[in-house]
Amino acid sequence: MSRERLVIVDGVRTPFTKMGTSLARLNASELGRVAVNALLTKTGIDPGTIDEVIFGCVGQPIDSANVARVIALRAGVPRSVPAVTVSRNCASGCEAITQADQKLAAGCGELFVVGGVESMSQYPLLYRPSAAAKFNRLARAKSLGQKIGAALGFRPGDFSPLIGLKLGLSDPVCGLNMGQTAELIGRENGATRELQDAFALASHQKAAAAAARLADEICPVYLPPKYKSAVTADNGPRAKQSIEALAKLRPVFERGTGTVTAGNASQVSDGAVALLVAGETRAAQLSLEPLGTLAGYAYAGCEPSRMGLGPVYAMNKLEQLSGLGLNDADIIEINEAFAAQVLAVRACAESATFARDELKRDRPLGQVPEAKLNVNGGSIALGHPVGATGARLALTSLLELRRRKAKRALISLCIGGGQGAAMWMER
């Protein structure tokens, strides 16, 4: 265990803004560009010395295959530096960090720009395959008769698009969408509507109170095409959110008995995060004060229809790998995909039965104290640009450790498709 740890040298993110609002017109490459551009400016490093750029993104823009490369070039990283886009769905931002660690261990570089980006506003609307086939036929038609014939083949239904966002948030294996998986684990673990709404309210209150602290990690986004006005803050947190207003919202995913609403689920957002990471030796050569290190991580698989419980499995695996458990954490981030899902994670972490049946261990994972959990609010308030969130949790928690002069943060995310991610961030 003498190998070098990965140091998180510095980081910055764009504001996270709700889908269709301030940053809606910026595609993923533009958002990522702004973050990396700001990171290079903030750290003042020579971008020619970067070994690779690794960016997480779930819905890559159709015009920017390998969006990491587009981001790197546009942000001022020289063309000689390679770039790769990674995807582990909701933990893509974590994947970028852990891949840097693996490359470091493998001797494939020691200074990386990593991060995550998502423009959920710009998820495309798609033609159905049946319609696409008809367009194809029309394009290949030669004679006028053929053209008319092909054109007459269209039906009104062909023009109703498939919504990329909806498809992206559905699991093709179990056939459920993410909200339905949250309903499932919520009701199995006693997460009532009231508990969920109360959790959501707390997230907003914490995030709103943390606005000034969060400003430390945010770079302004000057909005094209004029670049004059700057977006400088997240627009998700609602300081005046009331429990009554939350209670009025209708369940989205399950008629009648449902509990998951737009108010107690994560917000669909746009945003990007960029981190400068390096091996310990390389980091020491930079005249910058590092934020902390990546002290361990684990990804674990679970049942796709209960993907929300992923963090429990991942935290269990990480404990086995690192010897550190929930009690060793000064702060804990469990990404708020859904209030129901976080509540279910907590319940399972504390459950002896779950530990025995699912984790094959004799005692539960442990308590997740209120005071340590998502102390600056979570994705319910701040938003969840899926590819970016993992990297944000690393950044936000390291800055919070610094403020608290504390040692360790445990961050975790559930991952659509039935996985969990957990990472130890240390100072």
Partner: protein, 705 residues
């Protein structure tokens, strides 16, 4: 050997232009002779099936005639006639070859180079950025006289030929194709293959442009265009009407008769002082491009500091700061743009993106290049490390204390090799430098507004500035496509110092009752691009007044800051930015005189002055101050003064700059006029010692060259 001939397998003669030990091909006497011999050879060799002309140079096909022949005066009328007629004869010979001929153009193909291409049957160009095609002779006061004025209208029709030749356009390949100047544009690698392919097609038959190219229509075009040309140039540039005459009357005559008109035209033009001055400016620019100042250490390429700059920082996102950042980013640098809050940074970003937007709209840049340019800006509203930057240019508000504070911090943030530059237009560099621990790396790099249009940059050497910093700064300025003039750290540096007495005289004349339009018209007629009152409005009277008081404090009554500016400021008439100054800008089009300002002028002394007297009052102080700048070694050479004033203020190029103009007027006469004005209008006109002594000794500026 400037031209090498080889024969390709299929009997095609390949004539390769490769001027030895030069990056350019030119037409001098020897090259023209060689070409003539090669043509004779082709005529006599029946096995030759065609000829293709190429160049081996990286960025030049043929740059045109060797201008040095015109530059070093002493060319007699007979010399010029001979130069014209030899070129015409050789190109006629080329045009008359029985075999097809192709110019395979890669790189600059200008003037005489394109006239040769015009004498070929086909013209194929590479799509390279370095390929530029056109007949820019009018920009040096001449006209295309090796058949260009004759063959181009016959090729593409009179109107399009006029539109290409009169403004002296240098066209990109696509534009040249669109206008018919070349037949085909292909990637460079395919150039030769496509060119030899044209030989197989034989001689082309081309449309005759019978409608445009007949004598009557040509006459009408001439009648219509000439007054416009004269109005636009104030009649100061004789090459333009002459070219119009030659082309419109030549079109209905035989080729030979038309060529004779060309030759007569160039003989008349080449002997005019305008042409001499314009050619001199060309060489002044070349001189600035090649200038080496400071220590030769900047020539070493071994270490990073001597590599071309990649990262820069601009401090201050105002109009100047943003303008500089935009220019640097357009030239490929990554630029940190720093100001104190996101709002100011955003305003700077907006300025920058607008400049790019306009450049894209005018097709100066492609859309992608415009986006890349904006991408290269790194906005910062917090303090950020600047250790990785090669150069930092401060463009904050003109307050000495503020600048000193900024430089104190920049010193900390910069890397050990970073040049610390200020864009101040008035404050002393040496004093700013004292705020740092590295005054040897502090220098002035003074851009003019608008940055993307003004080619001149004053490089201001402070007391402690090291020769190495100077050398690197000059190279930097050249690298970003600007013309450096090295200036000593004296108040107002060069350009503003010479301009100020001119502007303060203009406002004095106004205060003394001269009408605003008369003042401006006098200088427009002199050839300035804008009248002084209008210029003050554009710059802003607050800025003008600031500089004026600053210089007045340094130079005393030589630059009296007239009370009128203060009265204008008190009345809130700041110029265009406040909606009104000497003119009223509330209406959109031509701004009328601002009645309120006119009321402020109470004097009568200057009310009845003639235009010539007005010009004397404003121009002579400029010449006087220009001489003083030499006297005080603000710059090293008269070349610096003339280039600076032409490129920095638009001093009429056809006059060759203030010192050339002084020579032309006669120094004795200038001293006499200044002494007369000193008695009648004020001591600020007192001629400087240098002028007096030179006049007495009968010497001239540039006299020792």
């Amino acid at each position: 050997m400037n031209i090498n001939a080889t024969t390709l397998e299929d009997g095609i003669r390949l004539l390769t232009f490769d001027r030895p030990e030069s990056s350019a091909n030119l037409f001098d006497t020897a090259t023209m002779d060689e070409l003539d011999h090669h043509l004779a050879d082709i005529e006599s060799d029946r096995s030759v099936r065609g000829a293709v002309f190429v160049s081996t140079k990286k960025s030049i096909f043929i740059a045109g005639v060797d201008l040095k022949r015109f530059h070093h005066s002493g060319l007699t009328t007979d010399d010029i006639r001979r130069i014209a007629s030899v070129g015409q004869r050789v190109f006629n010979r080329l045009a008359a070859l029985r075999v097809p001929t192709v110019a395979a153009i890669h790189g600059a193909c200008l003037g005489g180079g394109y006239e040769m291409a015009l004498a070929c049957d086909w013209r194929v160009a590479s799509d390279d950025k370095r390929t530029k095609i056109g007949l820019p002779e009018t920009s040096i006061g001449l006209l295309p006289a090796w058949g260009g004025s004759t063959r181009l209208p016959r090729l593409i029709g009179l109107p399009r030929a006029l539109a290409a030749i009169l403004p002296g356009k240098r066209m990109a390949p696509k534009q040249a194709k669109r206008n018919g100047l070349v037949d085909q544009v292909v990637p460079r690698e395919h150039l030769l293959r496509v060119a030899t392919g044209k030989i197989a097609q034989g001689k082309p038959s081309r449309p005759g442009h019978w409608f445009w190219n007949n004598g009557l229509v040509a006459k009408l075009i001439c009648l219509r265009e000439k007054p416009k040309l004269l109005k636009k140039t104030g009649g100061h540039y004789p090459a333009l009407p002459r070219t119009l005459d030659v082309m419109t009357s030549g079109i209905s005559r035989s080729i030979d008769a038309s060529l004779k008109l060309e030759a007569d035209g160039i003989i008349a033009l080449a002997s005019s002082p305008v042409c001499g001055n314009l050619i001199r400016i060309f060489f002044l620019q070349e001189r600035a491009k090649r200038l080496r100042a400071g220590k030769g250490s900047a020539m070493k390429n071994s270490d990073k500091k001597n590599a071309p700059a990649k990262w820069a920082a601009v401090i201050g996102a105002g109009v100047m700061g943003a303008g500089i950042a935009q220019w640097l980013s357009a030239r490929g640098l990554d630029v940190v743009l720093r100001d104190i809050d996101p709002k100011r940074v955003g305003q700077g970003m907006a300025t920058i993106s607008k400049l790019y937007h306009v450049a894209v709209k005018r097709r100066i840049l492609t859309k992608v290049e415009g986006q890349q340019g904006v991408d290269r800006i790194h906005p910062a509203h917090n303090e950020v490390p600047l250790g990785n930057t090669d150069i930092i240019i401060e463009a904050a508000v003109e307050k000495l204390d503020l600048k000193k504070k900024i430089f104190e911090r920049l010193d900390e943030l910069a890397g050990p090799e970073t040049i610390l530059a200020t864009n101040t237009s008035a404050l002393p560099i040496s004093e700013i430098a004292q705020a740092t621990r590295h005054p040897e790396r502090v220098i002035g790099i003074h851009f003019f507004n608008p940055v993307h249009r003004m080619q001149l940059v004053e490089v201001v050497v402070g007391k402690a500035t090291s020769p190495e910093t100077l050398a690197r700064s000059v190279q930097f300025v050249q690298k970003i496509g600007r013309l450096p003039v090295v200036v000593r750290d004296r108040p107002g540096f060069l350009v503003n110092r010479i301009l100020m007495p001119y502007l303060s005289e203009a406002s004095r004349l106004f205060a003394d009752g001269a009408a605003i339009p008369s003042i401006d018209q006098a200088m427009l007629d002199f050839g300035m691009p804008m009248g002084p009152m209008r210029l003050l409005d554009e710059v802003g009277l607050d800025v003008g007044h600031h500089v004026a008081t600053h210089l007045a404090a340094e130079f005393g009554d030589r630059m009296p800051s007239s009370g009128i500016m203060q009265s204008m400021l008190d009345a809130g008439q700041l110029g265009r930015k406040s909606g009104a100054g000497f003119y009223d800008y509330s209406a959109q089009s031509k701004p009328p005189v601002n009645g309120a300002a006119a009321m402020l002028a109470t004097g009568r002394a200057a009310a009845g002055l003639s235009q010539e007297q007005l010009q004397d009052c404003m121009v002579l102080p400029m010449l006087n101050e220009a001489a003083r700048c030499l006297e005080e070694n603000v710059v090293a050479d008269p070349e610096d003064v003339d280039l600076g004033m032409i490129m920095g203020t638009g001093f009429p190029p056809f006059r060759g700059g203030p010192l050339r103009h002084a020579n032309a007027v006669g120094l004795a006469k200038i001293v006499e006029s200044l002494e007369r004005l000193a008695k009648s209008a004020g001591p600020q006109f007192e001629p400087c010692e240098l002028l007096q002594s030179m006049a007495k000794a009968g010497r001239e500026f540039y006299g020792d060259k």
